[in-house]
């Protein structure tokens, strides 16, 4: 039985009623008096010099209030990582992909803004372009950025132990190559924002983002406004999954146009522009060798990655590091070598997406493990259990598994799926497969170098003491962070959840790095807990002083105050409160002093009742180059079993059943944890079976719509058997850690291992469409 009153339950989300009734406002739902509408001119060519931009006709068009280009915007370089700031708001000398931003307009309505874009005349000199990452690396390939010869955006070379020697000493070395496809995050809400300047020159940006803090800093830098004069407010956000983790040309254009017109400006991306902005999953090519001993012990891993980054860096440096570092676990290795290269091509930039950098390489690795197990005659579950890490293990690249229920996850999915009665016993055309994975609970370092707190939180009590309001900069993007913080605050203060409110996603309230790297439950959670503890301490001190008792004898639970664990003799306090409360219609009663009475008395003594909390991780990781990427205070982990039916005549795959176990430390809210698991599996299933952003020979996206770029529908997803493993993470608030991204890690390889089990065919390229599987089965028959 849990000792918790609020945590570890299935409490309904705080925002669900607003969302179920259409009251919840998203960025595109906002309107302001006098608001103008912006639109952005984007390059129709993949690679071209800009010879001249003539905006004179557009400026004279009726209804147009402003036209801006690089001339007005300036040429401040920005990006995600300061080490690779390679974008300017508008292209000035050349464009690098179909969709590169050139100019923006503000008009009285959206149709006028669109019409005016056609009147901007741009003279181009088309340049040879390159769309394939392997071609881009060749001698003589078109150069996309002068500063990066050979189109080499970033390179990583890491080695732990002597990999060649370790491989040479192995009984078996298996090899595998794997190629995924560019995926789109396909959140249902396209980016939108409204920018407004007040008369003192302060900018407020209402925007659909995962990271108000980083947007504030980037917009301030690019538009050269002091950071303190930029306020970013996140309304409800209709999904992010990674690509909303950085400041966009949409936000900066709206802000610039608002500055030029003195009016609020709204811009919303069309669905096509969402595909063009992209910043979603890279295409990865993986080449891997795994060396094992006869007894199934894994010894050494050689891992090579090439990433198609598109035209700009975005999150790409972190991505190319993650593809290596996230294979350090959850299996023990004696040696690991990683060589990663991220290459520029004339396509929209790729960035972070759920399971950042790890998903494709995890897919390759978990297939390789099955290949080794088969050759050695081991069951895939047994092979994994033989090599699994447990709590307290350190990976070879120095990631500290301070809690790790990996073994428990594997055993749970094995048992719930009845693996042992199925593996090797299914008829041809039916298959079962499994895989594991792990992910960070928040990046160990901010994306810019700083000793900043990663999260600060303020909790304020209402003057009557009855309501606690959590003020945080963290970003509720659908994952449920507002509810999580409310539950942590309620538990810590000892009050019911309905007495807690949350105001979030506003850079004026507090510092928070935002919703990426699955960090908020752990990091914002810590800060929330600390703020609540501080507030609780202040109240206890006032009560103790009046009662003449030790503050440590006072506790709060279910909205009442306990003295030495019981109601205590609090008559003096209640008399004080009743005297204070004269004339009200709700005099306090009951055998316990209520939290509300106590908090009101504390207010009378101390003034505003405010608690503050903060969190930053301790120094983490090794001292090698790139050691920061992959570090985290804690790691969540997942195991999955997938069962499929393959139509051997057509290659059609039906996913019949998925069993998923995830170790989230402590499930603050069990329903929300399951929701993250289901959503991760759904995204993984789509990427595995059919999602692919396609381009034509001139670099234009061929399928920039949710009709042609297919994501899973309700008919594609099976029900998932969901198992929560709670390992109690020592570095997490109340033992909690991530669930948002770790759960996607095993999905692709578990499906592909099941497909192999059903067909005997190893798939080395995604998506595993019926056509690809059919061709692979035919090729196998010919062998």
């Amino acid at each position: 039985m849990s000792e918790f009153r609020v945590l570890n339950t299935r409490a309904a989300r705080l925002d669900a009623p607003a969302k179920a009734t259409g009251r919840a406002k998203y960025a595109d739902d906002l309107a302001m008096p006098g608001m103008l509408y912006g639109a952005i001119l984007q390059s129709p060519l993949a690679h071209a010099k800009i010879l001249n931009i003539d905006t004179s006709k557009a400026r004279k068009f009726p209804g147009i209030r402003a036209v801006v280009t690089a001339k007005e915007a300036g040429l401040v370089k920005y990006g995600v990582s300061p080490a690779r700031y390679d974008e300017t708001l508008y292209a000035h000398e050349k464009v690098r992909y179909v969709g590169d931003e050139i100019a923006a307009v503000a008009a009285v309505d959206p149709a006028t803004a669109q019409e005016a874009l056609d009147l901007i005349k741009v003279d181009y000199e088309e340049l040879p372009a390159v769309f394939d990452m392997f071609e881009a690396m060749k001698e003589g390939a078109p150069q996309i950025h002068d500063e990066f010869p050979g189109n080499m955006n970033a390179e990583v070379h890491q080695e732990f132990g002597d990999t060649e020697a370790a491989l040479a000493a192995c009984d078996l070395v298996v090899h595998h190559t794997f190629l995924n496809k560019r995926q789109d995050a396909a959140f249902i809400e396209p980016h939108a924002c409204v920018a407004v300047f007040d008369l003192d020159g302060k900018l407020t940006l209402h925007t659909s983002t995962q990271v108000p803090h980083y947007v504030m800093r980037t917009v301030a830098m690019v538009l050269q406004i002091p950071v303190g004069n930029v306020r970013v407010v996140k309304p409800y956000v209709g999904g992010g999954f990674g690509p909303k983790c950085e400041a966009t040309p949409l936000e900066m254009s709206a802000a610039l146009l608002a500055r030029h017109t003195g009016k609020p400006v709204k811009i919303t991306y069309s669905r096509e522009q969402v595909f063009l902005h992209s910043r979603a999953r890279h295409q990865f090519y993986a080449e891997m060798s795994l060396g094992v001993k006869q007894d199934g012990t894994m010894v050494a891993l050689k891992n090579k990655a090439i990433l198609d980054g598109g035209a700009y860096t975005s999150f790409g440096i972190a991505t190319v590091y993650y593809s290596g570092s996230l294979l350090g676990g959850p299996y023990k290795l004696k040696a690991m070598k990683y060589d990663g290269q991220r290459v520029y091509t004339n396509k929209p930039a790729c960035g972070a997406q759920r399971g950042h950098g790890g998903v494709a390489h995890r897919a390759a690795f978990e297939q390789l493990l099955d290949m080794a197990a088969e050759k050695l005659g081991f069951d895939p579950v047994e092979m994994r259990l033989r090599n699994i890490m447990t709590r307290g293990d350190m990976t070879i690249n120095e990631l500290d598994m301070s809690s790790l229920g990996m073994k428990e996850c594997v055993e749970a999915v094995r048992d719930v799926s009845s693996w042992e009665t199925k593996k090797g016993k299914l008829p041809k055309g039916k298959g079962i497969g499994m895989a594991c994975g792990f992910f960070v609970s928040g990046a160990g370092y901010p994306i810019y170098r700083s000793d900043t707190y990663h999260s600060t939180v303020v909790i304020k009590l209402s003057e009557d003491g009855g309501i606690a309001t959590v003020l945080t900069g963290s970003a509720e993007i659908g994952q449920g962070s507002d509810t999580t913080m409310a539950m942590i605050a309620a538990e810590t203060l000892g009050i019911p959840l309905e007495n807690v409110r949350v105001v979030s996603g506003d850079t004026d309230l507090a510092v928070d790095l935002g919703a990426y790297s699955s960090r908020q439950t752990l990091m914002t959670g810590h800060a929330t807990k600390e703020a609540a503890e501080q507030l609780r301490g202040q109240i206890a001190a006032v009560l103790a002083e009046t009662m003449g008792c030790d503050p440590s004898s006072i506790t709060f639970r279910d909205g009442v105050v306990l003295f030495d664990g019981g109601p205590g003799n609090f008559e003096k306090l209640r008399s004080l409160y009743i005297k204070e409360h004269r004339g009200w219609t709700d005099p306090p009663g009951g055998e316990y002093l209520t939290f509300r009475e106590a908090a009101r008395l504390a207010y009378l003594k101390l003034g505003s009742m405010v608690g503050t909390g903060k969190y930053k991780p301790p120094r983490l990781g090794g001292s090698y180059k790139g050691a920061a990427v992959g570090t985290s205070p804690a790691y969540g982990c997942s195991a999955q079993v997938v069962e499929v039916t393959v139509d051997l005549e057509t290659g059609q795959i039906t996913v019949d059943r998925m069993t998923d176990a995830h170790d989230c430390g402590l499930a603050i809210n069990k329903t929300q944890v399951e929701g993250q698991m289901h959503g991760s599996l759904s995204m993984g299933l789509g990427e595995c079976l059919f999602e692919e952003v396609k381009f034509d020979s001139r670099g234009r996206v061929l399928n920039p719509s949710l009709g042609e770029y297919r994501i899973p529908t309700a008919l594609d997803m099976p029900n998932v058997d969901t198992i929560l493993v709670e390992s109690n993470e020592p570095n997490g608030p109340y033992g909690a850690k991530e669930v948002g991204e770790g759960a996607i890690m095993p999905t692709i390889p578990a499906i592909l291992n099941a497909v192999y089990d059903a067909t005997g065919v190893r798939i080395t390229e995604l998506p595993c469409s019926s056509e690809r599987l059919y061709m692979a089965m035919k090729a196998q028959e010919k062998k």
């Binding site: 009734t21 998203y26 995050a185 249902i188 396209p190 899973p712 969901t722």
Partner: protein
């Protein structure tokens, strides 16, 4: 050239002057301030703009405002009855069927249209009925559970 339309929206008579190329979605969102219907794609792919037109769920981004002339529209804002939530809304909240919430209004209205037609649907019927409403957050499982619960046909499946 604008045209005058008269229709019933959430039980109230509404009059509007619209260009012939205005969509019903744009009319609801911009002229009536009913922003519960969402603009997700503009092509009828995602279902976020679903409203109920004369009892049938439609993608309001594919319906012209003039086509709604003389007809009856129900949006998510009209589903609760004098502040009392509809059982489908209650079930979505209780079951955890809502994450980012952007698909929820359309999803709930597709569910309502289904349950009006077929009060005790099977799981397959539910999945088919909402297959035009895309959700990227939930994997659909809790949405299906919510609709089953609202129909009173929940399997009562408790997951640990």
């Amino acid at each position: 050239m604008k045209r005058i339309i008269t229709l019933t929206v959430n039980g109230e008579p509404v009059e509007g002057a619209v260009e012939p190329n205005r969509t019903l979605l744009s009319f609801l969102r911009e002229d009536l301030g009913l922003t519960g219907a969402k603009h997700g794609c503009g092509l009828g792919d995602c279902g976020a703009c679903t409203v109920i037109l004369d009892g049938k769920p439609v993608n309001s981004c594919l319906v012209l405002a003039v086509q709604a002339d003389g007809r009856e529209v129900l949006t998510i804002e009209g589903l609760a009855d004098n502040g009392k939530l509809h059982p489908i809304q209650e079930a979505f909240i209780e079951t955890g069927a809502i994450q980012c919430g952007f698909c929820s209004p359309g999803m709930i209205l597709s569910a309502k249209a289904l349950l009006d037609e077929s009060p005790k649907p099977t799981e397959t019927e539910i999945r088919t009925a909402i297959s035009g409403n895309l959700c990227r957050c939930t994997g659909y499982q809790k949405i299906v559970e919510a609709i089953l619960a609202a129909a009173g046909t929940a399997q009562g499946k408790e997951v640990s």
